[in-house]
Amino acid sequence: MTLDVLYFAWVRERIGVGRETIETAASTPRALVDELRSRDTRYAMAFSDLSALRVAVDQQLTEMDASLQDVREIAFFPPMTGG
């Protein structure tokens, strides 16, 4: 499956890109995080503490164990601080 993966704020800074296309068989955000961590230390650094991360799937806030079936876009970022 081909996924657009987006990163924001300090997650983006640690990984070094804001957006990339990834070929993966991960079935959940958590599985994708594990896969990326093993690829490169940049990901290991960005994803070192999952409790500090939020995930959106197809632009909808969700959980790390949500399904990635038929998903096109996934985003990882810190807790929001707007307002």
Partner: protein, 147 residues
């Protein structure tokens, strides 16, 4: 429902009058304006990043949730992104209703949800530092108070 995510500055009073002008039957209008705080004169800039596409959807869902809870005649959310300086307006919400409690509660609710559910991230730039603002426990508690 009026949602604006913009890089350009806005003038809260002008927006409030514009918002009030299109309401019919409203007896109460509440506005909230969030401003860039000065950090004892140390702040050189505030940078705001957001997630284009998701931001608009999230704000729309937050407003729909407020409309389901209170009898609102009108709602407005404006939020800037990009580089801002001290004392500039960051964002504004406004609500219109027949009665004051609905307008107050809905505006408070919109702010709590926007803080923790809309994909914006702020960074404060001083001469020495460029730190991402941390989400606070108080924001999470405020959000849960509406459950």
């Amino acid at each position: 429902m009026d949602i604006r995510v913009q890089i350009d500055p806005f003038i809260p009073g002008a927006l409030l009058d514009e918002f009030s002008g299109v309401q019919t039957g409203a007896g109460a209008i509440v506005s909230f304006t969030g401003l860039v705080r000065d950090l004892d004169g140390e702040l050189q800039a505030m940078e705001i990043e957001h997630y284009p596409g998701m931001t608009e959807k999230a704000l729309m869902q937050i407003i729909e949730e407020a409309q389901a809870r209170w009898p609102l005649l009108g709602t407005l959310i404006v939020h800037r992104y990009g580089t801002l300086t001290a004392n500039e307006p960051i964002m504004m919400v406004a609500t219109a209703s027949k009665h004051r409690k609905a307008a107050f509660e809905a505006a408070d609710f919109l702010m709590d949800y926007l803080k923790s559910r809309a994909p914006f991230w702020k960074r404060e730039i001083t001469a020495q530092t460029a730190d991402w603002v941390d989400a606070t426990k108080a924001d999470e508690i405020a959000l849960k108070s509406w459950d």
